[in-house]
């Protein structure tokens, strides 16, 4: 038998990758997988094609000189496009920016020249023997979705933080929680209040009913009470 049933409980699977700083702070990074990276790469590829196409049309007017300049241009664009964008724009090439990705070192610091050069030079290995064959396999097998170039350069492609919009809570009278709550419980209560708009009313009351009895709230206005606690947790706004 390949897998025994019910293995001893391991840490649950998560897409977060914790990096611990020397100060003992855990930085959660969210490595990006093959699918989104493939899309980002396709966008970059298209952009490069566009740039080259436009410049070639311009250079075609120059005859032989244009051909020579064109060859230089192919070299520059194919080898330096990614490196320059990554180093000078906080690890974001246009495709990555579009998909909300960025390249960082393994420890979460911004990517530097050597790492970026290495990971982009090794694209050549990743795309052996055809169309990123090795890169795709490595990306699917690696726990933090690294292709070979990333493994060699010690870099990581992560989701960047998107700016958050201020969530709106339903109107309720702020009140104190009857019992002390842990951080995750406070968060869950806030989430309950924030996400009420996306949930069906039946589901909302079902969730609220879970806490009705232990918090000793009468059944009909549990939702309002919980919203009140969430308001209270939020503090004066």
């Amino acid at each position: 038998m390949l897998e025994p049933t019910a293995p001893p409980r391991k840490a649950p699977l998560d897409t977060r990758h914790q990096v611990e700083t020397p100060e003992g702070i855990d930085l959660p990074l969210r490595p990006a997988g093959l699918m989104v990276r493939a899309l980002a790469f396709t966008i970059d590829l298209g952009l490069r094609g566009l740039i080259l196409g436009v410049l070639f049309i311009a250079l075609a007017l120059l005859g032989k000189l244009g051909m020579g300049l064109g060859s230089l241009l192919i070299f520059a664009v194919s080898w330096w496009y990614m490196v320059l964008f990554e180093v000078l724009r906080q690890g974001r090439s246009p495709g990555k920016q579009w998909m909300g990705l960025r390249v960082v070192h393994d420890d979460g610091t911004p990517v530097g020249w050597s790492a970026s050069l290495l990971r982009n030079l090794l694209r050549f290995v990743d795309l052996m023997p055809f169309g990123y064959f090795l890169g795709a396999i490595s990306c699917l097998q690696h726990p933090t979705f690294k292709r070979l170039g990333d493994i060699a350069a010690g870099t990581l492609v992560v989701y960047g933080e998107r700016p958050l919009s201020r969530p709106s809570l339903p109107e309720a009278e702020p009140r104190r929680a009857p019992i002390p709550l842990t951080l995750s419980e406070q968060r869950a209560l806030l989430g309950f209040a924030e996400r009420q708009g996306d949930l069906s009313p039946a589901r909302v009351s079902e969730l609220a009913a879970l806490l009705a009895q232990p918090l000793r709230i009468s059944a009909p206005n549990t939702v309002a009470e919980l919203n009140g606690i969430a308001r209270g947790l939020l503090g004066p706004t």
């Binding site: 390949l2 025994p4 699918m35 795709a136 699917l140 879970l210 806490l211 232990p214």
Partner: protein
């Protein structure tokens, strides 16, 4: 289904992150997923290939068309594994025929080309919905994540083809050179189909192999998208925390109640007793977390990795166990004769012989080294000698004669100019001949000019030019012209020229001799 048993962290994610979770899930159960997929699909593929040997494309097409049927197996495994009940390979395979029943026809015909196939499969297979109920569910599910699910399939199509072509290229690159020469591409296209059927079946087999690796990932990604959508829709993460909170509060209340009940009757005595035992008795006995429990848990935490990194190192060692030397000695008792022999050898009886052998061995080493150096001396020279030995200049015998003239230094008189002046009156030809002969001799012996036996006078002049002595060159030219005139044209130079040539000689060579 109990959310608290989930083996993944449940929280709302972005769609791409949800897919990444699917990749992680497929990684975790990679062996089971891939083996079960291979066991199901590869025999089917083989059977199709054999049955439809003459039309490989059709076999391939049917195999490809049936993909939704195989996809139910990985989904079953993943859905079980999500809640920690990973099935064994045998269980999973036994389950497969049952999984095929619901709505197989639909998923193989009009739903075959749905781009969100893997995202919607759980609705049929895990929720068991059909008809209108299913439609409603799909409507709700597809409100948000439809785009991502379709992208997943589109990316999957491209990835499959890239990996497939990659496999073919890899196969082609691994062919030995001798075979490759026959494989012209035109011959592949134009040749009779029958010759290359096996090749087409081989490429089809590559596709089947690619699917073994990719398809479980595809199903897992669709499943994790589905999970994520339901997490968002039904706030699973909030439910999870609420349930834990409820459990905590209930057990607290229960514990408190118990404590109160137990202590109630004996309350006064307990109050009376407490001060007496206080210093030694463990404190905080009535809390949910007693001091002993907290002490234990702190100890347990301190034993764990960030504080203590235990490491077990296993190495091979010779079997003498210091722990029980008695047994070791008992083992060593047997070869008594060996110890006796060793003891005898240990004495200094054979020292002389040992010395001789040592000398012989060292001698052999030195001889061997010497022989090696001698044997490979060219090699050593090539690498050790920094300055390559120049090829020795070929020694050419000095020229003895030119134009039939004797160039030996001894054959010439000492005072050439004087001798020539004397000769001039009677034999001008001999006088000029003497001068020219002497010039050549001087060039040869004093200026180290290499003269070829077949050089003409003009070639000699050209060589003199290379010496970069203008006065010598001018004199030589002058002399050569007159010598040629008299030698070949029988024209005697004018009288004043005779004197000029002799003076020129004196000016040139008496000075040169002085130098």
């Amino acid at each position: 289904m109990r959310l608290s048993d989930a083996t993944v962290v449940i929280r709302p994610r972005t769609t791409w992150e949800a897919m990444d979770l699917g990749v992680l899930m497929s990684q975790q159960h990679r062996r089971l997923l891939m083996t079960s997929w291979a066991i199901v699909t590869l025999p089917l593929f083989a059977a199709l290939s054999v049955l439809l040997w003459d039309s490989p494309s059709l076999a391939m097409f049917i195999f490809w068309w049936l993909k939704p049927a195989y996809e139910r197996l990985p989904l079953f495994i993943l859905s079980k594994a999500l809640f920690g009940e990973t099935p064994t390979l045998k269980q999973a395979l036994r389950e497969w025929p049952r999984l095929l029943k619901p709505q197989l026809l639909a998923s193989l015909t009009w739903r075959r080309f749905s781009l969100s196939r893997s995202f919607l499969l759980p609705v049929v297979q895990l929720e068991g919905l059909a008809g209108d109920a299913r439609q409603q569910r799909l409507q709700v599910l597809l409100q948000r994540n439809a785009g991502a699910a379709q992208w997943l399939t589109v990316i999957g199509v491209h990835l499959e083809s890239a990996l497939w072509i990659g496999m073919m290229v890899l196969f082609y690159m691994l062919l030995p050179q001798q075979i490759e020469t026959d494989w012209d591409w035109q011959s592949l296209v134009l040749a009779a189909d029958h010759d290359w059927l096996w090749l087409e079946h081989l490429t089809n087999a590559f596709y089947a192999l690619i699917l073994v690796g990719w398809e479980p990932v595809y199903v897992a990604c669709g499943f994790s998208l589905y999970l994520n959508r339901r997490t968002v829709l039904e706030a699973w993460d909030i439910e999870l925390v609420f349930r834990r909170l409820r459990q905590r509060l209930n057990s607290n209340a229960l514990g408190l109640l118990l404590v109160v009940c137990l202590l109630m009757p004996g309350m006064p005595s307990a109050w009376a007793d407490t001060p007496a035992t206080a210093p030694d008795a463990p404190r905080l006995l009535n809390q949910p977390l007693s001091s002993q429990a907290s002490h234990d848990s702190i100890k347990a935490v301190l034993e764990q990795p960030p504080f203590k990194n235990r490491e077990t190192v296993t190495r091979y060692r010779f079997g003498e166990d210091p722990a029980n030397p008695a047994r070791a000695r008992k083992d060593g008792e047997a070869p008594q004769w060996l110890r006796a022999l060793l003891g005898w050898l240990d004495g200094h009886r054979l020292d002389g012989l040992a010395n001789v052998i040592e000398v012989l061995l060292w001698g052999a080493v030195i001889a061997l080294t010497g022989w090696l150096v001698w044997r490979y001396r060219d090699f050593v020279q090539a690498f050790v000698n920094r300055r390559p030995r120049l090829p020795e200049p070929i020694k050419r015998p000095l020229l003895q004669q030119a134009f039939g003239l004797d160039l030996h230094r001894e054959s010439l008189p000492n005072d050439i100019a004087g001798h020539a002046e004397q000769l001039w009156q009677t034999e001008p030809r001999a006088a000029l001949g003497l001068l020219y002969r002497a010039l050549l001799s001087r060039l040869l012996h004093e200026f180290d000019l290499t003269l070829g036996p077949a050089d003409t006078e003009n070639q000699v002049l050209a060589r003199i030019e290379q010496l970069q002595r203008p006065e010598l060159l001018a004199y030589s030219r002058n002399l050569t012209v007159h010598w040629q005139n008299i030698a070949y044209g029988h024209r005697v130079p004018a009288a004043h020229l005779q004197q000029e040539l002799c003076d020129g000689w004196r000016a040139l060579f008496s000075q040169g001799a002085a130098r």
